[in-house]
Symmetry: C2
Amino acid sequence: MSRIVGFETFDVRFPTSRELDGSDAMNPDPDYSAAYLILRTDAEDGLSGHGFTFTIGRGNDVQVAAIEALREHVLGRDVEEVCADPGIVNRALIGDSQLRWLGPEKGVMHMAIGAVVNAIWDLAAKRAGVPLWKLLADADPRWLVSQVDFRYLTDALTPEEALEMLRRGKDGAAARETSLRAEGYPAYTTSPGWLGYSDEKLTRLAHEAVAAGFTQIKLKVGADLADDVRRCRAARAAVGPDVRMAIDANQRWNVGEAIEWVKALAEFDVYWIEEPTSPDDVLGHAAIRGAVAPVKVATGEHVQNRIIFKQLLQAEAIDFVQLDAARVGGVNENLAILLLAAKFGVPVCPHAGGVGLCELVQHLSMFDFVALSGSRTDRVVEYVDHLHEHFVTPTVVTGGAYQTPTTPGFSAEMFPATLEAYSFPDGSFWRADRGEV
Amino acid sequence: MSRIVGFETFDVRFPTSRELDGSDAMNPDPDYSAAYLILRTDAEDGLSGHGFTFTIGRGNDVQVAAIEALREHVLGRDVEEVCADPGIVNRALIGDSQLRWLGPEKGVMHMAIGAVVNAIWDLAAKRAGVPLWKLLADADPRWLVSQVDFRYLTDALTPEEALEMLRRGKDGAAARETSLRAEGYPAYTTSPGWLGYSDEKLTRLAHEAVAAGFTQIKLKVGADLADDVRRCRAARAAVGPDVRMAIDANQRWNVGEAIEWVKALAEFDVYWIEEPTSPDDVLGHAAIRGAVAPVKVATGEHVQNRIIFKQLLQAEAIDFVQLDAARVGGVNENLAILLLAAKFGVPVCPHAGGVGLCELVQHLSMFDFVALSGSRTDRVVEYVDHLHEHFVTPTVVTGGAYQTPTTPGFSAEMFPATLEAYSFPDGSFWRADRGEV
């Protein structure tokens, strides 16, 4: 029997604010960061489990402290047991009643649980010798249902309904897997649209996006309406009438403001408005959606857990579920969110970007296509071309599509040299940056 | 000019789990704890500002780390400036875009903001020489409105409406203050009803509660229906027909379960069901409220921020707003919540207990009575008689009512000896507990 014997955390930060990469109306100067975890075992297979929470700089140390608070729940566990049933760890962490007080199931403590749970899944997929999407797609529907915490969900989704959907998902799965391996999964790009970029850079990058095969781009909006009108006009002119153009306000507006602002930009054939207001405001999203149609409404990157997603779907408040791989409680909770979206017939278009989010989230959408929703129609995964070089098996996007990962695991693993150099504040990059050579 | 020159944090934990004080269906063994902050100044008045987050044990260190992450926002600030306008600090903390990613406005990071903001208010009230409730009740309505962050609220409450309510609150305020000082503010007690207590202890404590003048008690429920039926029967027999009996499930149930369980206990003339399900589930609470009437629905101790409270009110999901003084972003956000409750005409019955929550929350209800809602009808503040001995100006409850505090400040200050003894893990209590004398 082998056990988990190592629980190593890292406060990894990249100085992205210097280029205004990732700048938007609420996040003017993010330093993309990861509170990163490696689980080591005493098995002699050389495999380790990697997981992380994405943050944007300050407070990454608090996030690391939260992951550290989970150490005793994980160390010493039987590797085979937890890899055969990651739900064991998920339930133990969610169920720690003292830690639960710090959420419950939201914020720093919940994201820490997500990092640990995802590291277990990474290890499980590596030990199984398959990429995570394949492990999930091949799994017995009853086992998948056993991985989901249905607490607070049964008024919208029962275990029996989930099982039935997953059983139906087996029909045609082999053909979809073949198609997925050949064609990949559609991506859209946010790279042209950061708020800190000049119109010239926006136009150039929008042209490049179309040339690279993307059929949807996204622009950050919400700081200044006149600027947004000018930028939307420039972007629409650059991409032409046939490319979808989404906009993203990053929670900048109140409900009334959102409605007015989106209506003022609708003339540029806006596809969706993303995060028009607080991610907590289910009823606000419903009001906005009712008022801005045919512009669609999307949210999710800051939605704290399955309970808010449930309500966004019950209230018919959103057109797209933008789940995030590192915001909620890990793969187990994202299975719940994928099942909810399938039940309500709402397409999942995951949030990605940051550091490592593209690497993770591709697995969830690919599983969804092969074995749950069975569809790629109107489904796209966000793509941003930052920081992939730090990953052992980086995302590959070509022809506007995520290419299907074939390496075992959850694609979560950063290079040791990256962990060393960008560890804050004493990694070699940061020491050199301070002139301490 | 004086400045804030000290920012001292303490991880304070009390071993309450040993007596099953505070035990309920979701929290079987809480160790009441505080992530505690002292702000010191270089003014020569000897005054310091005290604030804290209440937790139930494990993870209190993570909460302290989150408070520490706010240190640089506070140190060096002009004391007179921030005491004249605590909203400055509130806005600076909420507005830190990198830290905001860790919420936004929820969980560990948001509670840390609450601790810091409340410490500023404690200092402001001490410097003004008045208890906090009096500082708020005497304040200019325009100034109070300036202390509120209306972001994400304006579809339910505008600054103009808030100003109008606060202006109306001035009518008769002097007479209400006189009445408050004479009679105090109604309390109810949870002390008889912890889930870990025997029926005998429950009955004895219920008798004592009535004898002490309480007109409402509360029982924890939700672990086992047969037990709950027996305990509710015993409690009702003990208190007689005229004392209100509330029950509290501490989020134990799904929506359907909650409805069935409450209906099964309704025969004991249950006054309210508290936390029937997830605090995030606005629509779930609305469904439960619709199904269990005339039993009323209450929630709030785990409601993360003003945005969820807004929706609970918009959806007519609750009969009572149970705000918590140390869960949201401090006094400023609680002003928003009090204003929302007043706008929707829903009574505020704050959550208290734990450690120090009674001390804090009494000020908010007393301000609400004197200068906003103008009413004590159907309004009660929770009271639990634990751990008050650690506070310099403890809550005084006699005749079933909170006696009106007269000491300057927010009643948040613990004795230095308590901070020393119960600091975890190296305070003298904990060292002695481990046999390290």
